[in-house]
Symmetry: C2
Subunit: 471 residues, 2 copies
């Protein structure tokens, strides 16, 4: 069935041999992606999927079918007598026929149907998506249980899956151990508010009494850092990649109540440069992998969702990221011709408008801002002991449009400087403390950054935010 040479090796790259063999043994069942890259020789095959378009002509019936394995559909050519009332946009079908070379420029193969069975019909009046219409993201977002049936969102899901795999591979290839840090925690890593509390409905917390399920108040984690630091006391490189939570009462296009974070800790690291090198490598290596593995899907975004974004991304990948101290950044902002809503001042947090300006100032190359004022960063950031401008070895990576993509720091490993802090945290420094540092990257922001998607709700399968927990 498969031609030798280039096409087979292409298939084998995509699908390992045991997968293909199994498929072919099962009565010629092929998935759309396999069919599209096969060398057609008129073999009998069976393909199942959902109808993405129907075009009925006098002498011939054309169907496009898709099964989620690729953006491209498989064209089915059939005798019009195989048409039925149930065979419509959105219905699921099981097609048997011969895979042959196509005469059309745009496709390599087509499936000449001998039998078309409608597996599940689709009520086209009730179905919210219409044939050949490109629906606005706002509209599509109203149907969390159906939006994976659109081209754009199915591309997003494939990219998200490959991005997850690429990030795991980066860490594995570089000797990191993956740690499942807990979702439920009795700590609050950042000392910040905005926490979700976790309790059994039957056991409300009574004043004075202790009726908590865990005996103590428990929260959804805002970061896996503390737990990673625990493990970094015995493993020189660890990472976690899981959901984190903020109860921010915001409906903005920038906020989610549940989002994914990639976090890493590296022991025996004495310089913030090492941490930045890892951040930059992760960004570039993972992105290159995604671009090569999901070329078509990424192209959909760069062509229709964010035209011009491809050049911006290439620019980010080609250039060495810029490094700038917080103090320099403040100087740049003070000299800026722009009028900011918040006046830039040493000791104040960088605002969104400041971040945007800094990235523009650096020719839209991502920029590391390092050495922040002591008072702006959490207690665990390592003191630079550099008075009079007292700073810590913390770093944020700013990228075009998205703003802060990563945050990281060297961690304070010196017991005497940490005195008077969290007990358990101190104990981590008591038994073989080591200089270490780490970083966290917002996974949804990363996807926004590489794809040019402006609403964070459009890069996560089931968004949760204030007033909304659909499905």
């Amino acid at each position: 069935m498969l031609g030798a040479g280039a096409s087979l090796s292409r298939l084998l790259r995509r699908y390992p041999p045991q997968f293909l063999q199994k498929r072919l043994l099962r009565g010629g069942r092929l998935r759309v992606r396999e069919a599209l890259s096969a060398q057609p020789q008129g073999c009998d095959v069976r393909v199942q999927g959902w109808v993405r378009s129907v075009r009925s002509q006098k002498e011939v019936l054309f169907l496009d079918i898709n099964d989620g394995t690729s953006l491209q559909n498989l064209q089915v050519v059939a005798d019009p007598k195989l048409e039925s009332r149930d065979l419509c946009f959105g219905s699921s079908v099981d097609v048997q026929g011969k895979l042959v070379k196509s005469h059309h420029r745009k496709q390599n193969v087509e499936l000449q149907a001998e039998d078309i069975r409608v597996v599940g019909s689709c009520d086209s009046i009730a179905f919210p998506f219409k044939l050949k219409e490109r629906h606005a993201a706002d509209y599509v977002r109203q149907f969390p249980h159906l939006r994976c049936k659109t081209n754009r969102f199915s591309s997003l899901l494939r990219i998200r899956s490959e991005a997850t795999a690429a990030i795991h591979s980066y860490f594995q290839d570089n000797g990191y151990v993956h740690i499942h840090t807990p979702v439920i925690s009795s700590n609050d890593c950042e000392g910040a508010g905005e926490l979700f509390q976790v309790e059994t409905p039957s056991k409300p917390s009574e004043p004075g009494g202790n009726s908590h399920f865990f005996d103590v108040p428990a929260f959804l984690t805002v970061s896996g850092q503390l737990h990673l630091e625990v493990v970094a006391g015995a493993f020189s490189r660890v990472f976690t990649f899981g959901p984190t939570f903020r109860a921010e009462n915001s409906q903005s296009r920038r906020h989610l109540a549940e989002f994914y974070m990639v976090e890493a800790e590296i022991s025996f690291t004495e310089s913030i440069q090492d941490i930045m090198q890892e951040m930059e490598n992760l960004f570039k290596v993972a992105t290159a992998a995604i671009l090569s593995r999901c070329h078509e899907d990424v192209e959909l975004f760069h062509k229709y969702v964010a035209p011009g974004h491809k050049d911006k991304l290439d620019h980010m990948l080609k250039n060495k990221f810029v490094i700038m101290s917080y103090s320099e950044a403040i100087e740049v902002l003070k000299k800026a011709p722009e009028v900011f809503s918040f006046k830039p001042e040493w000791g104040c947090d960088l605002q969104k408008e400041h971040e945007k300006y800094l990235v523009k100032h650096c020719a839209n190359i991502p920029v590391f801002v390092i050495n922040y004022p002591y008072d702006l960063k959490p207690f665990y950031a390592r003191d630079n002991v550099d008075g009079p401008q007292h700073t810590v070895a913390a770093v944020d990576l700013l990228v075009p449009e998205v703003g802060e993509l990563y945050g990281g720091s060297l961690r304070e490993e010196r017991l005497h400087i940490l005195q008077s802090r969290l007990d358990r945290y101190l104990e981590l420094r008591q038994f073989g403390t080591v200089p270490h540092g780490g970083f966290g990257m917002g996974f949804e922001r990363y996807l926004q950054c590489i794809l040019g998607v402006d609403n964070i709700k459009d890069v996560i399968p089931f968004p949760r935010f204030s007033h909304s927990c659909l499905l």
Copy 2:
């Protein structure tokens, strides 16, 4: 530094070239695992890690150091004058010296130290673990922030990391798309109780008023199945691997409030056999990968934690899993010479004691029990329409010691049979419904099954259960 031939290719298998090159460029810094598999030629290297043992003799000082990259330590040989008061069990060190061939049988290389810097000391009185003592699991569990410094738990973490990677690889290699199903959900998949509720502490739910953060009561997910089914309406194979939650008020060695589940959905599947084949393949392929990648770590468990477990596991891997209908299972139990606390009866759930007997009856080969009574399984399991003994196409996989490892079913895709159920769930069948099925596997139970660990709290980094949310 590295010899050509066998050793280099071994290293390259473990660490891709870009990793090794980067390491070697950084002033000869090597990680313990790299040092152990290097071909020593007296090169200058620098190794950092934690001291696992100190043996001071008149003319020579021996150190074992470990950095989490392998179970095996690197032996450091030094002049006794390099010894210091801070150089003790648990302290962290930075050693410079020459990597040479060792004369000892048990090791290939040793590090002849020229300089030993103690990076962080370790108060051996306060440190809960003692040199050369093998501490009981119950004792070690009391120190969630330090137990990764023990041999056994660091092996567990490496195995867990590799097991996670092996499971992801299995699905990727077989054309599945990875979906991040949400942790916070307004549904209750199983219709079961035992849910954790999620709320902001400042916004308690008031009777009559609507002050929920999400406008509706929200819970921690008990399963990603519903969300996977949503995506399985456009993707023929999807999987998820993330935390799930049960508020079971149990301190038993079998329960966790937060645990990991591997779940998959497969569309266009008309037979429960296809689902079982995937379950069996996943178990065998992932386990084979773990056994080959973490040989030493797994051996520690099979040698010291669960002697004899290696043979049991080999037996599971070598044999085709048994398939038995629920009705047959009940017959087997009724004929059993054993006296059960719960009398086996058609229509009643299988109890732990029944599961154990069935596995024993099948010569300790994992056994699929299929076709359960309609009333025992959730509404979404596919009706076999087989009266008078009305059953559904559901399956559980029972394994030695652990009991139920997987649960799965064909899902009811027929709209008319599902009428009068959940609205959204129905709508999934309205637009191109397809026969599909799926399964879920408890990841901790899987680790218990392959390692022979009897307490579930010992296979997860930070266990959460009733009355306990340490760290």
